[in-house]
């Protein structure tokens, strides 16, 4: 069972920022700037939480909150 804050902590660790700076409303592209870094983050989360995303899943993901929701949704939590 994972919770929102665990996923946020993983994202924060990846972008090397405190979790408090990685709020749900923060745009992912403000956090990582380069699209290939975003690919790395997305794969990091899939590996860490044993989930799989498809491109259609990511098309609506814009913010940290969206990405956390996606992970939790895939985990069924």
């Amino acid at each position: 069972m994972i919770d929102r804050e665990q996923v946020r902590a993983e994202i924060a660790k990846f972008v090397k920022k405190p979790a408090a700076k990685v709020g749900d409303g923060v745009a992912l592209m403000d956090l990582v700037q380069e699209s290939f870094v975003l690919v790395e983050l997305v794969i990091e989360l899939q590996e860490s939480f044993s989930v799989r995303f498809g491109q259609e899943d990511l098309s609506a993901v814009r913010s940290v909150g969206d990405l956390i929701d996606l992970v939790l949704n895939r985990r069924g939590t």
Partner: protein, 193 residues
């Protein structure tokens, strides 16, 4: 030290320096990307092969740096690598399978480009040697990625993998056409076609 079989009065021309720097930039970008992914992946065959792939790309970047230096020049600082354009054309890869699919397409493009370069008129021996050396590794890259994609078929489905490869193949054609168009004059001067 410059290579002994190259006359010192035959420096790289502007187009040659540009394309070798372009290759170098692309190898550096590939290396950095695969290195970070190799660090992320869970233990297993893909983690091992991706780590080797990362090391190869870093080595290739060195080969190009060395080749440029041996030909009496300094690498140009180029902002973007060829593969940086894939994400904006085909959407970013969403998972490991998609990363491998895009890698397979890119590696085939590299081999095609290096083969084309080997046939360029007046090719300097150090450039030919570097191309040949790198192409050996590139063949292994295509092989391991193909096997890795096959190993992912139970998880993602063969059809989905094939569709993904096709999507990135179409994107590569577009990126290649744009690159050719953008650098048409240089490439015509280099390859004589």
């Amino acid at each position: 030290m410059p290579h002994p079989d190259l006359p010192l009065d035959e420096p790289l021309n502007e187009n040659e320096l540009w394309i070798l720097s372009f290759y170098r930039t692309s190898e550096i970008s590939g290396s950095l990307f695969f290195g970070k992914l190799a660090r992320t992946l869970r233990p297993g065959p893909i983690q091992i092969d991706m780590t080797k792939h990362f090391a190869d790309e870093a080595q290739h970047a060195w080969y190009w740096t060395e080749c440029i230096r041996d030909l009496g020049a300094k690498p140009l600082k180029l902002a973007d690598a060829y593969q940086d354009q894939y994400a904006s054309t085909a959407g970013m890869p969403a998972n490991l399978m998609e990363v491998l699919a895009i890698t397979q397409i890119f590696e085939r493009r590299v081999i095609n480009q290096y083969t084309r370069h080997l046939k360029a008129p007046g090719l300097k021996p150090p450039i030919a040697r570097t191309l040949e050396k790198i192409m050996q590794d590139e063949l292994w890259h295509i092989d391991w990625v193909k096997k890795a994609l096959e190993s992912l078929e139970p998880e993602y489905g063969k059809e989905t993998i094939e569709q993904t490869i096709e999507r990135f193949r179409a994107a590569d054609r577009e990126v290649y056409a744009n690159t050719m168009k953008e650098h048409e004059e240089r490439l015509r001067a280099l390859f004589g076609d």
